[in-house]
């Protein structure tokens, strides 16, 4: 099953796991996404500051469970403050109930990425986003 090839972009990863940051670093430095710019934040607070500073972001990959402002809190605050609403955010979760997902979408999440994921899952997700956001031909 083939999927459209994603293009490099500018990404923000918000996650409290150093391991996950390294995983994203690999994903964004190899294959079709090589050449992307990636910003890293270790908690929601840092993530929010980086989001504010980078309106040009292609996508934010936002972990749900984090100390110091979790993913949902970040989304809610962004919504309340109207910060760069055009930047899509994907919530990264290990296990989410439909209720969680509804709350995330309500708070402005574009989609979900479930752990455990592999590089192809991220590539597929970004390709889908880019196809959706492409100006209509």
């Amino acid at each position: 099953m083939s999927h459209a090839t994603p293009r490099p972009g500018t990404f923000l990863v918000v996650d409290d796991s150093a391991l996950h940051h390294q995983m994203y670093r690999l994903i964004f430095s190899k294959g079709p996404l090589a050449g992307s710019t990636v910003y890293h934040a270790m908690n929601g607070r840092e993530g929010y500051a980086l989001l504010a500073a980078h309106p040009e972001l292609t996508l934010v990959l936002l972990d749900l469970n984090m100390p110091e402002m979790n993913g949902l809190e970040l989304l809610s605050r962004r919504q309340a403050e109207g910060l760069h609403p055009h930047v899509p955010v994907v919530l990264v979760t290990t296990e989410s109930t439909p209720e969680d997902e509804a709350r995330g979408r309500g708070a402005g999440a574009w989609d979900y990425l479930r752990k455990p994921f592999q590089p192809a899952d991220v590539e597929r997700l970004i390709a889908r986003l880019q196809a959706e956001r492409a100006p209509a031909a």
Binding site: S17, A18, L19, Q22, M23, L26, N65, K115, Q118, A120
Partner: protein, 549 residues
Amino acid sequence: MDHDNAFGELIQEYIAESLPLAEAVTDAFLALERRWRDGDTDAADAAGLKGTLHTLKGNSAMMGLAPIQLVAHVLEDLTARILADTAARTEAAAALLVEGSGLLADLVQAAANPAALGGAAEEYAGRVRVHLGTAGDPVGQPLRLERRNIERRADAGADASGTIRVDFRRLDTMLEIFGEAMIERSALLEVYRGLTARYGSGPEIADLERAVSALGATMKRLETALMQTRLLPIATVFGRFGRAVRDLARDERKRVRLVTEGDDTRLDKTILDRLGEPLVHLLSNAIVHGVEPEAERVRVGKPPEATVLLRAATLADQVQITVADDGRGLDTDRIVAKARALGLDAPSADREAIHALIFVPGFSTAEQVSTVAGRGVGLDAAAAAIHALGGGIEVASEPGRGTSFTLTLPLTLAIVRSLIVEVDEERYAVPLSHVAETVRLEPGTLHEINSRGVAMWRGSAIHVADGGQLLGTGATRTAPRNYYVVLFAGPRRRGLLVDRLVGHQDVVVKGLDPTLGRPDVVSGATILGDGRVACILDAAGIVALREVA
């Protein structure tokens, strides 16, 4: 198509992040097991652990580490069960949680070498599924991945290290049976001697002799093999400290790096289980008292980050563990001043003797309670714990260079090399690890000072206690005893008067019925080769006794 290994190069990052999580889970389940045993079956804090296990499962899945994923998965299921169902909070469930989290930590630590992860995970998962009554349920992906990994290993012709996990109690049972076999062998030996005495020599008797002696050699090999199965790498204990050291250093506003060496040194599980606490005391002591504040270190030209070394090494049939810091060293003046304030005899010149004072009961705790809020760092407690294990503790210190504690421990507590002595026709086993020397009592060498026996031994006076009185044999003495055994524990010595030295023997330690009493002087019992029951003397306890008539 090998997507599991897309993140393979991150294995060290994976271990660095997952090991503290797995260890925290282990610690929490150990605490839970203790609480349940004490009758408090609350499980509220297990909710957080379920989340941690879930994270571990996810991370392991992303790394393609199916066996670890499997163990985390069944642990998560088991945790969910005990959370949901109070009736499920049983001793068996707690034991499975503790075992599984330990396995999880072991597997994470070995993750860089996936071929070694092998069957332990599946074997454990099988038992958890039986426990949960879900034995028939497919666990799906993890199992499939595991099987495929096994096939791959076989393809590669790699050596599949056939490891199984065995309940430790089964090993204890084997050891007990071995002890009984030793006694039966002795009985056989007696029969052989009886036959020789009665019928002299002959071809059948010679055959019997060969058989008895071959049996003896085989038993010795069996003993060695059995002991090997009881030994575990000390990494299981060392691995717990990284987090504790970091937290304590942070509390103290110091920068401390913990370096471990000899993690694969092996020790009997019963000793490992009791080593955690004394090591925590020593590490806390190093961080709180040994390591200087950063500014002071910089001022004296030391690196701002202190190093605390935890090292294990095997020396013959003992293990040596060192806890060393590069801090300020012991302050002998303060130790002497404090000893005098506490009314202790304080030597003024002998540095080693001064250092040894820190192990005196009450010495280290008294001050630390006031200097470090609420944190009593009991060096005496650590020393007592080590002595109780049949080990020794020594301290060496250089002003400005650091302090190092050296623990010497037996490899095992299950079989103790002993000196068998006789007192009033009863036999006793004295652990050789605490025997400095045996001395034939010459007339006029034992003096009575303040109604206590005193003898000169290697140039210093030591107290000598009568074995019969100490052990309460109740016999009326008619003749003086023939020998005294010099016992030692740490820097202390004490002589013990006995009638006869019977010989050396490896004895299998059996527990003592607590109703028997006299816990200060006897640590256990054993059955000697001739079938007689003998008490094993608690040499450290005897040496530490304050007053012996």
